[in-house]
C-alpha cells in the first residue's frame, strides 16, 4: 500500500475524538474505524495496479461480480461521469448507499441534505442502473437493454418487448412513454427498499 494511504489509515486509528469528527466530515460515511480500515484493505487488495484507484478491470476480476448479469452496470455506478478511475472516496461514497437505515442517524448534522443511505438515495441508485444515458428518464430502449442483460438469450425479443411495454404503461403517469424518477418512486412505494438494498456491516 502507498505510504500516503497508510498514513491516512494510521491517522484514522490514532485520532482523538475531535479529529475523528473531522475525518468523518471528509469521508461522508459514518462507519466505524475498523470498518473503514477493513474497506481500505479491501480497496487495496482489489487495486492490482497499486496506483490508489480502481479501474473497471479491477472490478471484473471478482468472479462473483463477473457472473452477475448486471455486473457491468453496477461497476459503472462506481465511476463518476466520464472517468475511468475510482478513488477510495468514490468507492466509499457508492458503498455508503448500502448501509442499513437506522432511526437515530447521528450523521444528520454532519452532512448537509439527506444521508446517502436514505430510501430515496437507494432508489436513485437503482434508477441509475436502468438509466443508461443518465438523462434522468428510463426510456423503452433502456429498459429493453437492461432486461436483455438480465435474461440473456432465454427470452424472445417480442416477449421482452411486451414486458417492457407493460412495465412502462403501469408506471408512466404523465404520458411521455418514459419513466421519470418520481414515477419510479411511486411504482416502488410498497417495496421494502431499505432492507433489499442494504448490506449488513458487522462490528
Amino acid at each position: 500500500m502507498g505510504l500516503q494511504g497508510w498514513r491516512n489509515v494510521l491517522a484514522l486509528k490514532t485520532s482523538k475524538n475531535n479529529n475523528r469528527a473531522a475525518w468523518q466530515r471528509a469521508f461522508p460515511v459514518p462507519l466505524s474505524h475498523s470498518q473503514i480500515t477493513r474497506l481500505y484493505s479491501r480497496f487495496h487488495s482489489l487495486d492490482k495496479g497499486e496506483n490508489g484507484a480502481l479501474s473497471r478491470e479491477d472490478f471484473q476480476r471478482i468472479p462473483e461480480l463477473a457472473i452477475n448479469p448486471l455486473g457491468d452496470r453496477i461497476i459503472n455506478a462506481f465511476f463518476p461521469e466520464g472517468e475511468d478511475q475510482a478513488n477510495f472516496r468514490g468507492f466509499m461514497r457508492t458503498l455508503a448507499h448500502f448501509r442499513p437505515v437506522e432511526d437515530n442517524e447521528k450523521n444528520k448534522d454532519l452532512t448537509s441534505g439527506e444521508p446517502l443511505n436514505s430510501r430515496t438515495n437507494k432508489l436513485l441508485f437503482a434508477f441509475r442502473l436502468y438509466d443508461l444515458d443518465r438523462d434522468d428518464k428510463i426510456s423503452r430502449d433502456e429498459l429493453l437493454q437492461v432486461l436483455r442483460m438480465m435474461v440473456g438469450v432465454n427470452i424472445s425479443d417480442e416477449q421482452l418487448g411486451s414486458i417492457a411495454d407493460r412495465t412502462i404503461q403501469e408506471a408512466d403517469t404523465n404520458g411521455d412513454m418514459c419513466i421519470s424518477f418520481s414515477e419510479f418512486i411511486k411504482v416502488l412505494e410498497k417495496v421494502d427498499v431499505e432492507q433489499k438494498m442494504s448490506i449488513r456491516f458487522l462490528h
Partner: protein, 441 residues
C-alpha cells in the same frame, strides 16, 4: 602496516576454523544424523511450544480491538425466493422494476467481500507472530514489543537463516549425488530399497532445513503402490512434506537449471514422471503415461495436486478431473498449515521462487498437519467430475477448509461466460415461469 595484522590474521583464521568445525559437528549430530535414521530429539517441538507462548504474550500487548472477522453478513437467499418475496401481491411471475435489487445487492456484496479473490493472497491472522510481513497494521505500540521484534529479526536472519540454507544445500546436494549413485545399481529389489532410503533421508534433511514440524495422522491409510495420491496444494513445500514420510513418484514438467539437474538425478534411482513442455498439452498422452505407471504394481504411488495452482490454505478449489479419469484407487491427503508460525502460501503472481524460499527460511517455523484419508474409488454411475468433487469434499472436511466450486485458474484467468449465462437462465425462468407460455429464442 601489514606486519601488524599478521598475528591477528592467524588468530582470526584459527578462530574461524574452530567455529566452522564446531558448527558442522553440531549440525551433523543434532540434525543430519537423526534425519538419516528418521528419529527426532524433540528440539523442534520444544521450540514450537515456546514460540506459542511468546506470540500469546505479544498479542495481549497489541490493541486488537479489530478482530479479523468477516466485514459483512451475507444472506444465503436464492434468486427465486428473493424475487417471490418482492412481488407486490400478484402471484403470476412478471417483470417488476424491483427485481433489479437482488442483482444489485449481490453485486455490491461481492465487491465488499467475495469468496474467491481472497484465496489467492495470504491468510490474515488474528494474533501477531512478530513477522511484519504478516501484519498489515503494524505500527509502534510499545518499545518492548518493537524490541522483541528486533531480536526476532536478528535471530531469524542471523542464526536460523544461515543454518537452514546450509541444511538445504546439504539436503539437495546429497539427493543429487546419492540418487545418481543408486542409479548405477541394476534394477531390482536392492535398488528400490536403496532408492527409498535415499529419498527419505534427503527429504528429511530438507524438512529440517525449513524447521518444519509435521504431525501425521492416520498413517494406516498411507498410499500404496498402484494408486494415486491427491492432496490440496498450498506451496511447493507440500511435496517435501509428503515425501519425507513416504515414497512417491512425482509428476511434473521438465525444468532447466538446478531443478532439471535434480529431476534427472531423481529419475535415475526410481521412475518419476517428467513431461516435456510440449507433452503437457496432450491430455491423452498424459493420461496414458499415468495409467501405465499405475498399472505397474512395482512402481510407487503417484503424487498429484489436482487444483493445479497454489491456494492459500483456507479453502480447496476445483479439482481438475484428469487424474480422476484413470480409474485406480485414489488416496486423498489433507494438508493444513498453522499460519501462526509462518505463512506457507506461495503467491506466485507476487513473489518468485527464490524470494519465496527466502521467506520460508526466515520464518519461525512451518507447522502443519497431514491427514491420510481412507482410499476412495470411483463408484458405479459416477463420472470423473462427481468423483473429483467427492474426494475434494472429503479433503476439505478433514482439513477444516472451505469447499469451493470455483476454479483455481481464476487466479490468473477470467471466469467463464457460461456461469453468467446460468444466472441469466435462472432469472428468465422466474420471469416467465415454467409454463408453456415462456417461449425461448
Amino acid at each position: 602496516m601489514e606486519s601488524y595484522l599478521f598475528p591477528f590474521d592467524s588468530l582470526i583464521c584459527m578462530l574461524l576454523g574452530i567455529s566452522f568445525t564446531v558448527w558442522f559437528t553440531l549440525l551433523l549430530v543434532f540434525i543430519i544424523v537423526p534425519a538419516i535414521f528418521g528419529v527426532s530429539f524433540g528440539i523442534r517441538r520444544l521450540y514450537m511450544k515456546s514460540l506459542i507462548k511468546l506470540f500469546e504474550w505479544a498479542t495481549l500487548r497489541m490493541d486488537n480491538g479489530e478482530t479479523l472477522k468477516r466485514i459483512i453478513a451475507k444472506e444465503p437467499v436464492s434468486l427465486e425466493q428473493e424475487i417471490q418475496d418482492m412481488r407486490r401481491g400478484g402471484a403470476e411471475p412478471e417483470f417488476d422494476m424491483s427485481d433489479i435489487f437482488y442483482f444489485c445487492r449481490r453485486g455490491v456484496e461481492s465487491i465488499v467481500d467475495d469468496e474467491v479473490t481472497k484465496r489467492f493472497t495470504a491468510e490474515e491472522l488474528e494474533s501477531w507472530n512478530l513477522l511484519t510481513r504478516s501484519n498489515y497494521n503494524f505500527h509502534h505500540i510499545s518499545t518492548r514489543l518493537t524490541a522483541l521484534w528486533g531480536v526476532g529479526v536478528l535471530i531469524r536472519y542471523g542464526f536460523l537463516l544461515p543454518l537452514r540454507v546450509t541444511l538445504a544445500f546439504t539436503g539437495v546436494g546429497l539427493l543429487v549425488v546419492l540418487t545418481s549413485i543408486v542409479g548405477l545399481f541394476p534394477n531390482g529389489r536392492m535398488k528400490n530399497y536403496l532408492s527409498d532410503k535415499v529419498h527419505l533421508m534427503c527429504y528429511r534433511i530438507c524438512v529440517r532445513a525449513l524447521t518444519a514440524i509435521i504431525t501425521y495422522h492416520d498413517s494406516e491409510n498411507k498410499p500404496k503402490n498402484g494408486g494415486i495420491c491427491v492432496a490440496n496444494h498450498t506451496s511447493p513445500i507440500d511435496v517435501i512434506i509428503l515425501a519425507s514420510d513416504g515414497c512417491y513418484a512425482m509428476v511434473g514438467q521438465v525444468h532447466g537449471g538446478l531443478m532439471g539437474v535434480i529431476q534427472r538425478a531423481m529419475v535415475k534411482a526410481c521412475p518419476h514422471i517428467w513431461f516435456e513442455r510440449s507433452e503437457v498439452k496432450d491430455r491423452h498422452l498424459v493420461a496414458k503415461r499415468l495409467s501405465d505407471h499405475v498399472a505397474d504394481k512395482s512402481k510407487l504411488p503417484i503424487l498429484i495436486f489436482p487444483e493445479g495452482t497454489c491456494i492459500n490454505n483456507t479453502s480447496v478449489m476445483m479439482f481438475k478431473k484428469g487424474s480422476f479419469e484413470i480409474g485406480c484407487t485414489v488416496y486423498p491427503v489433507a494438508i493444513k498449515y498453522d499460519p501462526r508460525f509462518g505463512d506457507a502460501f506461495w503467491n506466485s503472481s507476487k513473489f518468485g521462487m527464490v524470494n519465496y524460499l527466502l521467506h520460508m527460511m526466515s520464518s519461525w517455523a512451518i507447522v502443519c498437519s497431514v491427514w491420510y484419508l481412507p482410499p476412495m474409488s470411483r463408484m458405479e454411475g459416477e463420472d470423473a467430475v462427481q468423483f473429483a468433487n467427492r474426494v475434494k469434499a472429503a479433503i476439505a472436511r478433514k482439513g477444516g477448509l472451505a469447499d469451493l466450486l470455483w476454479d483455481g485458474g481464476l487466479k490468473r484467468g477470467k471466469v467463464k461466460e457460461v456461469f453468467k449465462e446460468e444466472q441469466q437462465k435462472l432469472y428468465s425462468k422466474v420471469l416467465v415461469g415454467s409454463s408453456e407460455d415462456g417461449s425461448s429464442s
